[in-house]
Symmetry: C2
Protein backbone atom coordinates (compact mmCIF):
# COMPACT_ATOMS: atom_id res chain seq x y z
CA UNK A 1 0.00 0.00 0.00
CA UNK A 2 1.57 3.25 -1.13
CA UNK A 3 0.35 5.34 1.77
CA UNK A 4 2.68 7.30 4.03
CA UNK A 5 2.07 9.34 7.16
CA UNK A 6 4.29 12.29 8.02
CA UNK A 7 3.98 13.63 11.56
CA UNK A 8 5.34 17.11 12.13
CA UNK A 9 5.73 18.29 15.73
CA UNK A 10 7.29 21.39 17.24
CA UNK A 11 10.64 20.63 18.88
CA UNK A 12 10.31 20.13 22.62
CA UNK A 13 12.18 23.34 23.43
CA UNK A 14 9.77 25.42 21.33
CA UNK A 15 6.74 26.91 23.09
CA UNK A 16 3.44 25.51 21.80
CA UNK A 17 0.71 28.09 22.51
CA UNK A 18 -2.00 25.99 20.85
CA UNK A 19 -1.19 23.06 23.13
CA UNK A 20 -1.07 25.36 26.15
CA UNK A 21 -4.53 26.68 25.27
CA UNK A 22 -5.94 23.16 25.14
CA UNK A 23 -4.21 22.30 28.41
CA UNK A 24 -5.78 25.35 30.02
CA UNK A 25 -9.24 24.34 28.82
CA UNK A 26 -9.12 20.77 30.16
CA UNK A 27 -10.27 21.53 33.74
CA UNK A 28 -13.54 22.79 32.26
CA UNK A 29 -14.09 19.24 30.97
CA UNK A 30 -13.34 17.84 34.41
CA UNK A 31 -9.90 16.59 33.38
CA UNK A 32 -7.23 17.59 35.90
CA UNK A 33 -4.50 14.99 35.48
CA UNK A 34 -2.84 16.04 32.23
CA UNK A 35 0.74 17.25 32.37
CA UNK A 36 1.24 18.50 28.84
CA UNK A 37 -0.42 18.84 25.46
CA UNK A 38 1.53 19.31 22.23
CA UNK A 39 -0.19 19.90 18.91
CA UNK A 40 1.35 19.24 15.52
CA UNK A 41 0.42 18.23 12.01
CA UNK A 42 -0.40 14.83 10.58
CA UNK A 43 -0.05 14.56 6.82
CA UNK A 44 -1.31 11.54 4.91
CA UNK A 45 0.27 11.13 1.47
CA UNK A 46 -1.06 8.65 -1.05
CA UNK A 47 1.31 7.62 -3.83
CA UNK A 48 0.56 5.87 -7.09
CA UNK A 49 0.43 2.15 -6.53
CA UNK A 50 3.18 1.52 -9.06
CA UNK A 51 5.84 3.08 -6.82
CA UNK A 52 8.35 0.90 -4.99
CA UNK A 53 8.55 1.14 -1.20
CA UNK A 54 12.06 2.58 -1.41
CA UNK A 55 11.04 5.35 -3.82
CA UNK A 56 8.01 6.21 -1.69
CA UNK A 57 10.17 6.42 1.42
CA UNK A 58 12.76 8.60 -0.27
CA UNK A 59 10.25 10.98 -1.81
CA UNK A 60 8.34 11.25 1.48
CA UNK A 61 11.53 12.32 3.21
CA UNK A 62 12.08 15.01 0.56
CA UNK A 63 8.49 16.26 0.82
CA UNK A 64 8.60 16.36 4.62
CA UNK A 65 11.97 18.04 4.81
CA UNK A 66 11.47 20.67 2.12
CA UNK A 67 7.75 21.36 2.19
CA UNK A 68 5.97 20.17 5.33
CA UNK A 69 8.34 20.87 8.20
CA UNK A 70 10.36 23.90 9.20
CA UNK A 71 13.57 22.22 10.40
CA UNK A 72 14.47 25.20 12.58
CA UNK A 73 11.54 24.64 14.94
CA UNK A 74 9.99 21.31 13.93
CA UNK A 75 10.85 17.61 13.85
CA UNK A 76 9.17 15.15 11.54
CA UNK A 77 8.78 11.40 11.33
CA UNK A 78 7.82 9.41 8.24
CA UNK A 79 5.97 6.16 8.80
CA UNK A 80 3.98 3.63 6.84
CA UNK A 81 0.67 2.81 8.56
CA UNK A 82 0.47 -0.78 9.70
CA UNK A 83 4.22 -1.25 9.51
CA UNK A 84 5.57 1.29 11.96
CA UNK A 85 3.93 2.76 15.05
CA UNK A 86 4.19 6.43 15.96
Amino acid sequence: MARVVVDVMLKSEILDPQGEAVLGALPRLGVNNVKSVRIGKRVEIEFDDAETAAAVEEQSQIIADRLLANPVIENFTVSVPGEDAA
Copy 2:
Protein backbone atom coordinates in the same frame (compact mmCIF):
# COMPACT_ATOMS: atom_id res chain seq x y z
CA MET B 1 3.69 5.26 29.96
CA ALA B 2 0.73 7.63 30.23
CA ARG B 3 1.10 9.14 26.80
CA VAL B 4 -1.70 9.24 24.27
CA VAL B 5 -1.83 10.42 20.67
CA VAL B 6 -5.03 11.80 19.19
CA ASP B 7 -5.10 12.12 15.40
CA VAL B 8 -7.77 14.40 14.00
CA MET B 9 -8.40 14.27 10.25
CA LEU B 10 -11.03 15.87 8.05
CA LYS B 11 -13.63 13.36 6.89
CA SER B 12 -12.88 12.05 3.42
CA GLU B 13 -15.89 13.81 1.87
CA ILE B 14 -14.74 17.20 3.19
CA LEU B 15 -12.53 19.30 0.91
CA ASP B 16 -9.03 19.84 2.33
CA PRO B 17 -7.61 23.03 0.77
CA GLN B 18 -4.39 22.82 2.77
CA GLY B 19 -3.73 19.34 1.43
CA GLU B 20 -4.62 20.46 -2.08
CA ALA B 21 -2.11 23.30 -1.82
CA VAL B 22 0.64 20.88 -0.82
CA LEU B 23 -0.35 18.52 -3.63
CA GLY B 24 -0.13 21.40 -6.10
CA ALA B 25 3.35 22.31 -4.89
CA LEU B 26 4.83 18.82 -5.20
CA PRO B 27 5.78 18.99 -8.91
CA ARG B 28 8.11 21.87 -8.04
CA LEU B 29 10.03 19.39 -5.88
CA GLY B 30 10.17 16.92 -8.75
CA VAL B 31 7.52 14.66 -7.22
CA ASN B 32 4.85 13.70 -9.75
CA ASN B 33 3.46 10.43 -8.47
CA VAL B 34 1.31 11.51 -5.53
CA LYS B 35 -2.44 10.99 -5.77
CA SER B 36 -3.63 12.83 -2.69
CA VAL B 37 -2.49 14.72 0.37
CA ARG B 38 -4.65 15.18 3.48
CA ILE B 39 -3.56 17.33 6.39
CA GLY B 40 -4.87 17.01 9.92
CA LYS B 41 -3.82 17.48 13.52
CA ARG B 42 -1.72 15.28 15.74
CA VAL B 43 -2.16 15.92 19.47
CA GLU B 44 0.16 14.36 22.04
CA ILE B 45 -1.32 14.27 25.54
CA GLU B 46 0.79 13.37 28.55
CA PHE B 47 -1.08 12.22 31.63
CA ASP B 48 0.14 11.92 35.21
CA ASP B 49 1.90 8.60 35.66
CA ALA B 50 -0.48 7.58 38.43
CA GLU B 51 -3.40 7.18 36.02
CA THR B 52 -4.63 3.74 35.00
CA ALA B 53 -4.69 2.84 31.32
CA ALA B 54 -8.49 2.64 31.34
CA ALA B 55 -8.88 6.12 32.85
CA VAL B 56 -6.39 7.57 30.38
CA GLU B 57 -8.23 6.00 27.47
CA GLU B 58 -11.61 7.24 28.68
CA GLN B 59 -10.45 10.79 29.34
CA SER B 60 -8.64 10.94 26.01
CA GLN B 61 -11.86 10.02 24.24
CA ILE B 62 -13.67 12.83 26.10
CA ILE B 63 -10.95 15.37 25.29
CA ALA B 64 -10.86 14.38 21.62
CA ASP B 65 -14.60 14.36 21.19
CA ARG B 66 -15.43 17.56 23.03
CA LEU B 67 -12.36 19.73 22.56
CA LEU B 68 -10.06 18.61 19.74
CA ALA B 69 -12.33 17.42 16.94
CA ASN B 70 -15.36 18.91 15.29
CA PRO B 71 -17.48 15.79 14.80
CA VAL B 72 -19.42 17.38 11.95
CA ILE B 73 -16.40 17.50 9.66
CA GLU B 74 -13.64 15.55 11.42
CA ASN B 75 -12.86 12.02 12.55
CA PHE B 76 -10.43 11.24 15.34
CA THR B 77 -8.49 8.21 16.52
CA VAL B 78 -6.98 7.74 19.96
CA SER B 79 -3.88 5.57 20.18
CA VAL B 80 -1.13 4.76 22.63
CA PRO B 81 2.32 4.98 20.97
CA GLY B 82 4.12 1.67 20.83
CA GLU B 83 0.93 -0.28 21.38
CA ASP B 84 -1.21 0.64 18.41
CA ALA B 85 -0.12 1.80 14.98
CA ALA B 86 -1.90 4.53 13.05
